[in-house]
């Protein structure tokens, strides 16, 4: 846009005039051109090293309680219902066999009534969903819940105690009957205490999705788009404003260790105070290991791996989505757990009691502590202020490259470049649309054509078709010749867009951005500057492109694509792959732009 091409002299002069007054700027440009790549590389490596160092206890922070009102550990826990817990569990197992694997909701309701909790309600929900990744989540379900009204206050606030029930699980021990049994014992115990200032909701949600139905039913959240796939009754027995929720799952009758889970949808995390609270009780009472490995990169990595998928690690994800702080306490089992002295029910009960009594003390919503953090061990964390600089460094080469191109290249055809970029995006959206609809068109056909075949195979087949189409249309770009000025502009804009997108994504899901950044940052900045003969260059780019497309789709796996198959939001709400998809696909589209700019 700067100058027309006929006037070479004008061009040169304008080059000087771009920075007419400051020779400093010219020096900067020269420096960027000469040393920019090396500097970017240094930043990239420094970022990675820094991030690894953060896993070390010397470089991260120790957890502490920001919310004074929680007063953790101040009360003496008195829960003495371990015997009842075991009795209830046995009874539930008996019921389970009586009813052939699915205890009807009214039995749970009867339990609550027996405990003296008369305010109960059933809530039904239905998923009319073609392809659900988790088989146990399909179909219909019924949530049962009871409300224990606060004795000490007006009951304007409440806490949810959720023990999900998994009737469709093949293993009887994994149906969380022990968890429900312990909850009943606690409900019995809680009912006789006088200190409750908040309503307590005892919820038995059927499968993880039951929690979502319950939250939506309780808050009466109605969205047009979800009503067709996900239907649920509204809840009429209302508790107060929900301050927090604790989910509880026992993976077996006898558990050997306890674990807190807190990863929400799209990398959302609960307030760190709540996580600390549960961890404190678990660690205080049960993890009596003398030495925590203080520098544990592996733990950090597994945390980031979990967060980067954007999938919730339990029912708490659905509470978090609606702004209710939530964690899950999971009882973990191992092979010879019974021999290894399992955690007693009274200890588990006391942890939960302590948690609820702390939450009962809350004076306002949990807001004091961090919402953005990475965790290594239960008593260490990396706050946003600590992890953002290394992430910024990892992504910095992208922005630096864009700046270098902009400042040093004369006569970028910005207008054409912008339009081409828009076209590229339109192309990607169109392909998505095709892919999406292709699945819908192909799906019934495939189901009839290959009777009895698993639905996932069919989806996979149609996805392969879509993928082929994608690669074909991408390869058109390979043959496409564009002027140098436009290419450089496209390259620059793509880098900018990529950098912006990733920096913004880092707010939601830093882990995902780290993984994307580590792959993409060197790919788009360092790899594209070989001087190659035309023919080799063509093959190089074809190779790279196909590798990239393959890897990206492979990485996405079925999750990301099923999200599109299942029409936009619903799956994203449930499995939270939206950002995951956005991160990789957006990155992919932009990398394609970079290919065009840097290679063709």
């Amino acid at each position: 846009m700067r100058a027309s091409t006929e006037e070479g002299e004008y061009n040169d002069k304008m080059g000087i005039l771009t920075n007419p007054n400051t020779d400093d700027t010219n020096r900067l440009v020269k420096l960027l051109q000469g040393k920019g790549g090396a500097f970017g590389l240094v930043c990239y490596l420094a970022g990675i090293v820094w991030l690894i160092f953060l896993a070390n206890a010397d470089y991260n922070l120790g957890t502490y309680f920001s919310e004074n009102a929680l007063l953790p550990g101040l009360v003496v826990e008195n829960f003495d219902g371990a015997y009842y817990a075991e009795e209830f569990t046995k009874e539930l197992f008996q019921l389970d066999t009586d009813y052939n694997g699915k205890i009807p909701p009214h039995e749970f309701e009867a339990f609550f009534h027996r405990l003296g909790l008369v305010e109960t309600e059933l809530q039904n929900y239905t998923i009319t969903d073609l392809i659900s990744k988790r088989k146990e989540d399909e179909g219909t379900g019924t949530n049962v819940f009871a409300v224990l009204r606060a004795k000490r206050a007006a009951g304007t606030e409440s806490i949810v105690f959720n023990a999900p029930y998994f009737p469709k699980n093949k293993q009887i021990s994994r149906r969380n009957l022990a968890g429900i049994g312990i909850m009943f014992a606690l409900a019995d115990y809680f009912r006789h205490q006088v200190y409750w200032a908040k309503d307590i909701v005892f919820l038995i949600s059927e499968a993880h999705l039951g929690s979502l139905a319950w939250v939506k039913g309780h808050q009466e959240i109605m969205e047009d788009w979800s009503s067709s796939v996900f239907r649920f009754d509204n809840v009429h027995t209302k508790a107060g404003n929900i301050q927090a929720s604790v989910n509880f799952i026992m993976e077996a009758t006898d558990v050997c260790s306890l674990q807190s889970k807190f990863h929400g949808i799209n990398g959302q995390l609960p307030n760190l105070d709540l996580v600390n609270l549960l961890n404190k009780f678990i660690v205080l009472d049960h993890e009596k290991r003398p030495d925590w490995p203080e520098a544990d990169v592996k733990k950090l990595f597994s945390f980031m791996q979990m967060q980067s998928t954007g999938t919730p690690s339990g029912s708490h994800g659905f509470f978090l989505k609606y702004g209710i702080e939530s964690v899950t306490l999971v009882g973990k089992t191992s092979k010879n757990c019974k021999a290894r002295n399992p955690v007693s029910y009274s200890d588990i009960g006391r942890i939960l009691e302590a948690t609820f009594r702390s939450l009962n003390n809350l004076l306002e919503r949990l807001h004091q502590s961090f919402f953005f953090y990475l965790k290594t061990t239960p008593n260490r964390f990396i706050s946003i202020g600590l992890y953002f600089p290394p992430i910024a460094l990892i992504l910095f080469p992208i922005a630096l490259k864009a700046a270098t191109i902009w400042l040093s290249k004369q006569g970028l055809n910005t207008t054409r470049g912008l339009f081409t970029l828009m076209g590229l995006h339109a192309h990607a959206i169109f392909l998505r649309w095709v892919l999406n609809n292709l699945n819908w068109i192909l799906l019934p056909f495939l189901t009839t054509a290959i009777p009895g075949a698993e639905i996932r195979t069919n989806v996979f087949a149609s996805i392969c078709g879509g993928l082929l189409l994608t690669i074909l249309s991408f390869s058109i770009f390979l043959h496409w010749n564009v002027e140098k000025e436009i290419r450089e502009a496209i390259y620059c804009f793509c880098l900018l867009e990529l950098a912006t997108g990733l920096y913004c994504l880092a707010l939601f899901n830093p882990s995902l951005v780290v993984f994307i950044g580590v792959v993409v940052s060197p790919l788009v900045t360092f790899l594209f500057f070989w001087d190659m003969p035309e023919k080799q260059r063509y093959w190089a780019k074809a190779l790279l492109l196909s590798i990239f497309v393959g890897v990206a789709y492979d990485w996405l796996g079925l999750d990301g694509l099923i999200y599109f198959v299942n029409k936009y939001y619903y799956e994203s709400e449930v499995y939270g792959n939206f950002l995951f998809e956005l991160g990789w696909i957006g990155g992919g589209v932009l990398i394609l732009g970079v290919f065009i700019g840097g290679l063709i």
Binding site: T18, L496, L507
Partner: protein, 430 residues
């Protein structure tokens, strides 16, 4: 010509398609697009109240002038598609008028550079070229600018505000005194802040008259222009009084604008400051902030007395930054005028930085909003961080335009060499 046609088609289709989708409703509720002063939903509420024989200003929802209500009443008679078309067509009309205005400004500079004898010979290459079509760029950047598209699809009354402003700019550059006065009065009556545009209007019209007859008395010309502005304005007030039966509307509109009574977040700088501030300092800071919106008018008018089109541009940018309820419609308006300074682009140093800021803040704002309002993990500080970065970027853009304007003038007069006594020298905006 065919290219412009395609731009029109693309602009129309972009708006029309988005109108038909769900985005229409989403945009209507976005704080960046709809402020209390331009939200169409609020206009509907005012209309409803009026229909029930209640004052539209009752209920503290409707804060626009009675004229808007009359307009909405007229539009209410149309079918839904008609209303949509009115919005889109007035956006297209704005683009055309802006393009004409920018062409006018360009021909003004072209004429001057041909006449000017002070310019050195080597400055020839810096001159604006005859064959460049600035208008096309303006149309493109108004019709395809995402800010303008969202503003139109969000159905804000800023669409009409921009139309009046565009007419005012065009007519003042053309030297049409009464059209200018009328449209300027309408714009000022609508949203108060365009009142500062009277300065460039006076200068422009006087310049035009001087071209025709050299011995024109400036006092007479200025007085006539001011009168052309004030008479319709006062007329509008009285008509409004008749429409709404009392003078209440003055407080409910201009009082609302000046006192910043609604602290709903927007892209401006007021809301956060006034939510955080102690109540008894309210008046002091209201005065400080509102003076800030107008105070630059006088010094800039003095400094750039000969450059009314630069003044027009500068004031529009300042207005979009410092007004109490800015929306991205205002930002889109002055961004569309940016091609007017195409000949300054080579001199601008912050283009890249400002561009990055604009992109980043545009993406970050909805994200921070989501994190603050929906998921509850972030807070108001995060969102304000974005709005203040946006404000900073806009100020960077403005200073960049001003500085590069001065630079170009310097080079035109002194040539390209940048040496004083044999040493390399630098230019600074002072």
């Amino acid at each position: 010509m065919a290219r412009i046609g395609w731009i029109f088609v693309a602009g129309f289709l972009a708006r029309f398609c988005l109108f038909l989708t769900n985005f229409h409703k989403i945009f209507q509720k976005r704080v960046e697009i709809s402020t209390p002063l331009n939200s169409w939903l609020r206009v509907q509420e005012g209309l409803f109240l009026k229909g029930k024989q209640i004052s539209p200003y009752a209920g503290d929802t409707y804060h626009e002038t009675p004229f808007t209500l009359v307009l909405a009443e007229c539009l209410g008679g149309l079918p839904e598609m008609g209303v949509i078309l009115v919005f889109i067509l007035s956006d297209i009309l704005t683009a055309i008028i802006l393009a004409l205005a920018v062409e006018e400004a360009r021909s003004f500079y072209l004429m001057r550079s041909q006449k000017e004898s002070k310019y050195v010979a080597e400055a020839k290459q810096l001159e604006i070229k005859d064959d460049e079509n600035y208008g096309q760029y303006v149309i493109m950047s108004y019709l395809l600018n995402p800010f303008c598209v969202m503003n139109c699809v969000g159905q804000t009354t800023t669409v009409f505000g921009n139309l009046t402003s565009a007419v005012a700019i065009y007519s003042m550059l053309k030297g049409f005194r009464w059209t200018c006065g009328l449209s300027l009065a309408l714009a000022a009556y609508q949203s108060l802040y365009p009142v500062s545009m009277i300065f460039p209007a006076v200068i422009c019209i006087y310049d035009k008259e001087k071209q025709k007859q050299n011995d024109k008395c400036w006092i007479f010309s200025v007085a006539k222009t001011v009168l052309a502005f004030l008479v319709p304005l006062v007329g509008f007030f009285f008509i409004s009084r008749n429409i709404s039966n009392d003078w209440d509307f003055l407080d409910r509109t201009y009082g609302f604008i000046l006192n910043v009574r609604d602290l709903k977040p927007n892209i401006g700088l007021f809301w956060y400051f006034f939510t955080e501030m102690f109540e008894h300092f309210h008046l002091l800071f209201i005065c400080t902030f509102q003076i800030n919106a107008f105070i630059y008018v006088i010094p800039l008018t003095i400094r750039f007395f000969d450059e009314p089109s630069l003044l027009i541009y500068t004031f529009h940018v300042l207005l979009a930054i410092f007004k109490s309820y800015p929306s991205i419609g205002d930002v889109g308006f002055y961004l569309a005028l940016l091609p007017m300074w195409k000949h300054l682009f080579p001199f601008m140093q912050q283009k890249f930085l400002v561009g990055c800021f604009f992109i980043a803040t545009a993406v970050l704002a909805p994200i921070q909003w989501y994190l603050w309002i929906y998921s509850g993990s972030a807070n108001a500080n995060f969102y304000f961080g974005v709005t203040i970065a946006f404000g900073t970027a806009q100020i960077f853009l403005l200073t960049d335009v001003l500085l590069s304007f001065l630079k170009r003038e310097y080079y035109l007069k002194h040539g390209m060499s940048k040496e004083i006594d044999g040493k390399p020298a630098g230019l600074h905006l002072r």
